[in-house]
Symmetry: D2
Subunit: 138 residues, 4 copies
């Protein structure tokens, strides 16, 4: 575990009171954890803006009856096997499947993989979650 | 000006270094100002989530040749005159107008006014900016 | 007014029914207007992604008692007078002011002007609304 | 496969040309697929706004050395076992783990589970992806 440092910041009293209420309402145990998470969220946004190495999760919903869709999606994933860390498949109903696919790479490359999945005929929804490999957040 | 208080938070050394880089890159003079702004952004998001009193700016782009559109938009604004603080009109080109409209009220009411403008035939784009009356941010 | 063309699209019956419900619920008179607005929203997002000419509205909330803030903000706006189309000032309370500032220019330049305002000491909140000069939306 | 219906919409010629360019640039094969996806994106947004049944994927990044964190996260997931469909764990580095967790339930319940994970000490980042169980999108 890395060494903890103290950071002292100044706030007007009313803003401090609102921060305290926000921390409590958000279920955090203390203000340090809350502020660390605000900083981390901003760091992750910046990583994605700048196209740095990042971690993305694609959630994919599709009808497995669509012609050759499962095969096309598998082919696409193999084409990007260097970037795709894991894929999990869930059978949501008789017809509908959902997959979540964790991808590590440059932000732009992750976006392109998600776009290629979105364009496949029969895909009903694709959502990309932007996260981080964590080295920058510790 | 309200009295300034000190808030001391603990961060692991690597995260502190990344925060310092982020503060500098974002053009802030010091970490206190940067963190105060992170907290304020979160407070404003929460105000809008909870439907509290807020400040919104609607940006409206439209073709003034659309049938009676200018009159319909003026009528709509007068209907909400208690909430609309100011409207500024800019002539962008021969045909295209832009207006920015500052609205004070409950978040849900501001959204509804923006939606009513969006639905008018001839309106090309409506965007709602979510801000705050500032009392909660000082 | 430009000539209207017909575009015919195919949808599965259940999706068509959900579209009809969505159009009604959103207060639109017909599906054409609803879909035109979906397309326009996407066009505006792309304009901002690509950094093309765009229209932005900055909403600025600040305490006018902050040292020389009003003068600093005015100076900043004059520095960008070629891009700033109009500024409207509203006195929200004894201490708090709000301004809305319409800016025309490349998306990146509009963002930079908003960032410079955000960094001024005493500014409580800055929100940027991304819109379009409309030529691309008609 | 459900029966396909035709929907005819009217657009001004310049907007139609911009739509054609956007469809091509986005890698879609035709305008029907592009517009179906715009409609589906809006349907999913509405499902989440209204708190209907939805599908969410939580991406979780954490340091597995944090005290009892892995056990706390497992406990939390078991507590919500009725909603959690699948969890996949990836070892990103010596210290850092990522998990993706697929959750089915009311939008508000999915958000609450994500929030509870975010509040655990040692968690570095949590991102929630909002998708749909697909029945409404076919």
């Amino acid at each position: 575990m890395p060494k903890l440092e103290r950071l002292s910041i100044s706030l007007a009293e009313p803003l401090l009171a609102k921060l305290a209420a926000l921390v409590k309402e958000s279920g955090y145990r203390n203000r340090s954890e809350f502020i660390r998470d605000l900083v981390r969220d901003r760091l992750v946004s910046k990583q994605w803006e700048k196209g740095e190495e990042a971690l993305g999760t694609v959630t994919l919903v599709y009808n497995h009856n669509a012609r050759k869709l499962a095969a096309r999606l598998t082919g696409l994933q193999h084409h990007h096997h260097h970037a795709i860390l894991a894929t999990t498949h869930v059978h949501l109903s008789h017809d509908i499947c959902a997959e979540m696919i964790m991808i590590r790479g440059r932000a732009g490359d992750i976006r392109r993989i998600a776009d290629q999945m979105r364009q496949q005929k029969g895909v009903l929804h694709v959502e990309l979650s932007m996260s981080s490999t964590g080295e920058k957040l510790a």
